[in-house]
């Protein structure tokens, strides 16, 4: 066994294995100077290897409460084999949360020669957990939605069928009444026969219309909840995706603005992606924008356009009710400083990551009395 371990360490592949591990490995000497780090560390922190090698470890790490470590605290920590949460300061000055398992290293004489740290990114770990939880919830959600759809479909179905029959029956009754009753000046609920006849037709037709509307809501809801999350190559029409989203968010939008308009561009090429994920991006942006404009009198405009080989979905909130137009090469002329950068803290971060997978992006351009959010997706 010992022999096997020894031969493994001497194997030139051993270093490569450590190098490509999915955990970070960082070793520092007894003077806390970093003497080894693997690729995971450079990928996560943004530093080059030579920028970290030889540097003191506590220049880069902070405690969970954001306070800096002092030498004696580091000393007491690294002597014990234990797990700690650290904040590592990335090259771009942002923070990354690491779970670190420290192992003190000793020479043959039993003297401490440094510490090896095995590092995991907590955020990624948490995100994975959240994903699993949401997936479980989604299954429950799918089951509930399917059940509700079934329960709504049944009464909706006989409302539709019965209204169809009623309209046929009424058309027969109308003929008989017109033939048989000479004096048509009688009134029911204050309405003359002609007026009454028109009202009855309208009432029955509204049953069928309402039923179709319920159907459309249920269909879009179950499509959204039950669609395949794994298929990232679905061929999609952005206008259809948007229509479906707007059916689901109809009430939220109505509550947020009395001035809403949508303009579906024509001849928009198709896109490739996951239907559910793209809908989710649009839903998140719209809900968030609706929350922002709720208390103020903003207009909300949505537009789809094909511009410069990109499909653009523009969601625009404007206090002055300005009509937004997108000129060709619009994005080349926008002042970069004006654009809000989407970082990990942004509520649109996840949406931007989803769009990144299909080479799309979100561009937010705030104005003094407006906010324009552009979703750009390449056509296929």
């Amino acid at each position: 066994m010992i022999k096997n371990n020894f031969s493994l360490k001497e194997n030139p592949d051993f270093k490569n294995i450590v190098e490509v591990l999915n955990d970070g490995i960082l070793v520092f000497d007894k003077n806390y100077r970093i003497i080894y780090l693997n690729k995971f560390i450079t990928d996560m922190t943004g530093f080059e290897k030579n920028e970290l090698l030889g540097e003191k470890i506590f220049s880069f790490i902070k405690k969970k409460n954001n306070n800096k470590f002092n030498k004696s605290q580091i000393k007491s920590i690294i002597r014990v084999k234990k797990e700690y949460d650290f904040i590592f300061l990335k090259k771009n000055k942002t923070k990354i949360y690491f779970k670190t398992r420290l192992s003190p290293l000793f020479n043959k004489n039993g003297n401490n020669i440094g510490t090896a740290a095995q590092i995991k990114n907590i955020i990624k770990d948490k995100k994975d957990k959240i994903k699993i939880i949401s997936k479980n919830n989604l299954n429950i959600f799918q089951t509930i939605i399917s059940g509700i759809s079934h329960d709504i479909n049944n009464p909706n179905n006989y409302i539709l069928l019965n209204s169809n029959i009623l309209i046929k029956i009424w058309s027969e009754i109308k003929i008989i009444l017109e033939k048989e009753i000479e004096n048509k000046n009688f009134k029911i609920f204050g309405m003359k026969f002609e007026e009454l006849s028109k009202s009855i037709e309208e009432i029955i037709n509204s049953f069928a219309e309402g039923s179709q509307k319920i159907n459309s809501i249920i269909r879009n809801l179950s499509d959204y909840v039950c669609s395949d999350e794994k298929d990232h190559d679905e061929i999609l029409n952005i206008n259809e995706v948007l229509k479906s989203v707007l059916i689901l968010l109809n009430n939220i939008i109505k509550k947020s603005t009395s001035n809403f308009s949508v303009d579906y561009g024509s001849n928009i090429p198709i896109i490739k992606g996951n239907n559910k994920e793209i809908k989710e991006c649009i839903i998140k942006i719209l809900i968030s924008l609706c929350e922002e404009i709720k208390t103020q009198k903003y207009s909300l405009t949505i537009k789809t356009i094909f511009n410069n080989n990109k499909i653009i979905l523009l969601i625009s909130a404007d206090k002055k009710n300005n009509k937004k137009e997108i000129m060709k090469n619009f994005f080349d002329t926008v002042n970069e400083e004006k654009i809000i950068k989407i970082d990990t803290k942004s509520k649109f971060y996840e949406s931007s990551q989803i769009l990144k997978n299909i080479k799309g992006e979100i561009v937010i351009i705030p104005g003094t009395k407006s906010k324009d959010i552009y979703i750009k997706i390449p056509s296929i």
């Binding site: 759809s149 049944n154 179905n157 069928l161 019965n162």
Partner: protein
């Protein structure tokens, strides 16, 4: 000419009644049942008499014997009748296995009388 006999099986009685009304107006002879098991017994018992089922309209989700089980049982017993399966939009995965069966047509809920009569025409030749 004898009227065609249509059997409707749906656990929702109001749906059965609404479908029946549409079909009776169109001069079909209609029976409805709210249970798959009873439905199979009815078809089997009357397969050679004047109550013979010419077209079966069945829901998929039903307590006891569901629509798929009913279709399979009819198949096992070599009872060959045109079938219209009432489905919900989210059941598209479930119906995939029957998609290439010529005698089975699918009618998605909610449907109006025009959709119903159109599909009856398709299976009734």
């Amino acid at each position: 000419m004898n009227k065609k006999h249509i059997l409707i099986i749906d656990d929702e009685e109001s749906t059965c009644k609404a479908v029946s009304r549409v079909l009776k107006i169109e001069n079909f002879d209609v029976t409805f049942l709210t249970d798959g098991e009873k439905g199979f017994d009815f078809i089997f018992k009357n397969k050679n008499n004047d109550k013979k089922t010419d077209i079966l309209i069945t829901d998929i989700q039903m307590p006891g014997m569901n629509g798929i089980e009913l279709i399979n049982k009819l198949d096992e017993n070599e009872i060959d009748i045109p079938i219209i399966v009432i489905t919900a939009h989210y059941e598209k995965e479930l119906i995939k296995e029957f998609q290439n069966t010529a005698k089975i047509k699918f009618l998605e809920k909610p449907f109006g009388s025009i959709d119903l009569l159109k599909i009856i025409k398709e299976v009734n030749f």
